[in-house]
Amino acid sequence: MEQIQFSKEELERYSRHLIIPEFNIEGQRKLKASSVLVIGSGGLGSPLLLYLAAAGVGRIGVVDFDTVDASNLQRQVLFGIQSVGKSKALAAKERLASLNPHITIDVHNTKFTSANARDLVKQYDVVADGTDNFPTRYLVNDACVLEGKVNVYASIYRFEGQASVFNELLADGSRGPNYRDLFPSPPPPGLVPSCAEGGVIGVLPGILGSLQALEVIKVITGVGDTLSGRLFLFDATGFTTRTMKIRKDPRNPLNGENPTQTQLIDYDQFCGIGVPASQEREVEAIDVHELQSWRESGKNHVLIDVREPYEYGIAEMGGELIPLATVLESTARIPKDVPVVVQCRSGARSAKAIRQLEDAHGYTNLINLTGGILAWQEHIDSSLARY
């Protein structure tokens, strides 16, 4: 570690670390010698990347395939309006390079998949998971366990956050618990909506992502006790925090008593994604261009909007508002004698509403609007707000 040297500029930059007795130049050397892979540069990834770069982690990898959208700026503080439309990974590198020129940023402008996960993970000392869906959460965990890397974890939902440190190398040479010890398998699709569907208070990923950055730094420097073997919970509504114990599960398929999984799997299938959709009955559908031609030609029809009132307040296209949960008791407002187009945000809930009404009340005149109001905004009426 002695061979890690600092320039005068670096010593000045990191001086507030260097004067902490428990941290000092040894801690700073460990940071400079280390590499961290941050998967996802969104709500959690933004503060993670900013703090890790500012703290002087020597090499940081950014994995993201997405581009910056205006709706990201409410929480993804890594980006500004000049980043909108640009690759997140590239925009992240620009921002981080301007923050700290003494470190290296690797751009991985790609989706994190079973095909590239182990190859990416093995190039770094520590992994920080800032992703947003169950298949990728399990993929990150499994890749880290199989490659022997620490996985610094956080996740959020509306006002709630969770954080932990998985698979840490312990003093006795064993590894701490991992995500599969805590949650052996994921919830069925649809029970826990994503932030895109369920919403998230913008500062919450800021808090949890900062905690992740702290834990990454503790893992690297060995300062303090990490969250290994513990799950930290934060509920912003009541400002309550709890810290729970996590124990290793002998049935863990990766590193329990009888491991059955020695490589990465198909995580969409594992999480049941794509399965229910293909089993669900197709419903009749039209696209937004056809609906527009109906409107222009004056064709008699009714438009029902099955979203929630707060969504209707953001953008609407003239439909009658009957939220999905209330359609079955609102049949008096849904005629049977003219074509009824049913619409939601992207077309999934409206298809569900149609199936429910067909099954329960024998409707035969319901037509789904493919792509919902998002497609209408994209192709017909760009003055509407996207959300």
Partner: protein, 91 residues
Amino acid sequence: MAQLIIPTPLRKFTDGQGIFTQEATTVKELLHALASQHPGLKPHLFEDSGNLRSFIRVYVGDEDIHALDGEDTALQPNDEVSIIPAIAGGV
């Protein structure tokens, strides 16, 4: 009375209620009292076999019931029981 903390993703099945208080001697009794008061919650807590679902952990204080006596874990009058679901959000 034992107190049960219901996490946000499951509150849509409890009319938004976040805390459930009930006289109960075991974790099982408490969970079943909650499920019978909010029937919509039941399939999200229990598998058809009656076992707790694998994306949910139940804690008494800071200890996982799997490390205690499972659902038969005895409750003291002021115990705080938490249902912790897997959540995945991050961007």
